[in-house]
């Protein structure tokens, strides 16, 4: 019983402020990048790049600011389930609209 408790204490990893600073800089660079990219005509790639940059920024926030990289597997699984459900929501909604009268509303 006490072994379990000690093992849990080791899991409480305190993230260093230097990591936070690095992530802050990465997020600010990502913001500048996405603004710049919106002024360049890349055709169909514009929204894809914008979303890719946004997803990368969100992943950095989730992993480091929200400590998920240092969290239990339960936490990681929970987040994965949430993302999966959200993608299913979008996917099934699109499947409905794409297959019947797209754009006729």
């Amino acid at each position: 019983m006490s072994e379990q408790v000690e093992h849990k204490e080791h899991e409480h990893h305190i993230v260093s402020p230097l990591v936070y600073l690095a992530i802050l800089v990465a997020l600010l660079v990502g913001t500048a990048l996405t603004v710049w990219a919106s002024y360049v005509d890349l055709g169909v790639w514009n929204p894809i790049i914008a979303l890719a940059i946004a997803c990368t920024k969100a992943t950095l926030v989730v992993l480091f600011f929200m400590h998920v990289k240092y969290s239990s597997r339960l936490t990681k699984l929970t987040i994965f389930c949430g993302v999966f459900l959200f993608l299913t929501l979008i996917g099934m909604t699109l499947a409905d609209y794409i297959s019947r009268a797209w754009g006729q509303w």
């Binding site: 402020p17 600010l28 979303l51 459900l85 909604t93």
Partner: protein
């Protein structure tokens, strides 16, 4: 029940109650309590994902159906203001993460400073939002009886449309810009409501932090509020490119 003479076995012993006061009795240990609370917070955040997810899905569909309307309408938003707001919010996420670190390393004045900075940055974000919203009201771009198509039928009459080099839109395309603004106000309005709630809780936390409530080993409240604040930041990270940066070339 409180005047029952029955006392549980060992309850009067000095050793039977050796745990921190913040450990609730239905948990085995402080670590388990923290884990369970953290898990519960993540479940709440997932419900928020579903909540905003519905709005994002609506946006996805309407943007693909009425793309030219969305492009023209998005030119009414100011990228400098939106970009500045993004910087404010990302920095506030940084100060919040630093606040959690201060709580974990028992730095009380550091924690109070970080919470105050997060508070101020959050207020700054709402201030910029107020400026943006009031401009929308003045220009009659709020979906309502008073919605005006003028900026889209005659782009030269509107500074923002003229600066973006917009051409006059046909009537039905111009009318669909109202859909964009409905989504704009719904999504940013919901986001702003979440910010207001967060700022309110931050105010409460600043007083509690000053009283030393979070720097004596019990960091759960600050940690879990941090999760909420970062989540609101993530929502904005997606809102900014989707609403402001549709097409500027």
């Amino acid at each position: 029940m409180s005047d029952s003479p029955v006392i549980a076995d060992g309850a009067l012993d000095a050793t039977a109650h050796e745990h921190p006061s913040y450990l609730r009795h239905h948990f085995e240990s402080v670590e388990q309590q923290a884990d369970a609370t953290n898990f519960a917070m993540w479940l709440f955040l997932l419900t928020e994902v579903m909540f905003f997810g519905g709005l994002f899905t609506a946006y996805l569909i309407y943007r693909n159906w009425y793309y030219p309307s969305f492009v023209a309408a998005s030119h009414q938003l100011s990228i400098p203001l939106g970009g500045f707001n993004t910087l404010l919010l990302i920095t506030s996420s940084f100060t919040m993460a630093m606040g959690v670190w201060c709580a974990e390393t028992r730095r009380k004045s550091g924690l109070v400073l970080c919470l105050i900075l997060t508070f101020i940055l959050g207020l700054g974000f709402l201030g910029v939002k107020t400026v943006e919203y009031s401009e929308k009201f003045e220009k009659h771009h709020v979906p309502s009886y008073h919605y005006s198509l003028n900026s889209f039928l005659n782009p030269d009459s509107d500074e923002a449309a003229k600066a973006a080099g917009d051409k006059p839109l046909p009537l039905d395309v111009a009318r669909h810009t109202e859909v964009y603004f409905s989504l704009y106000f719904a999504m940013t309005g919901m986001h702003a409501l979440h910010m207001i709630i967060g700022i309110g809780i931050l105010g409460f936390m600043i007083f509690r932090a000053q009283a030393g409530a979070y720097t004596s080993g019990h960091v759960t409240f600050v940690e879990n509020f941090g999760l909420y604040w970062h989540f609101v930041d993530i929502i904005w990270i997606f809102l900014f490119p989707l609403l402001y940066l549709i097409s500027r070339h």
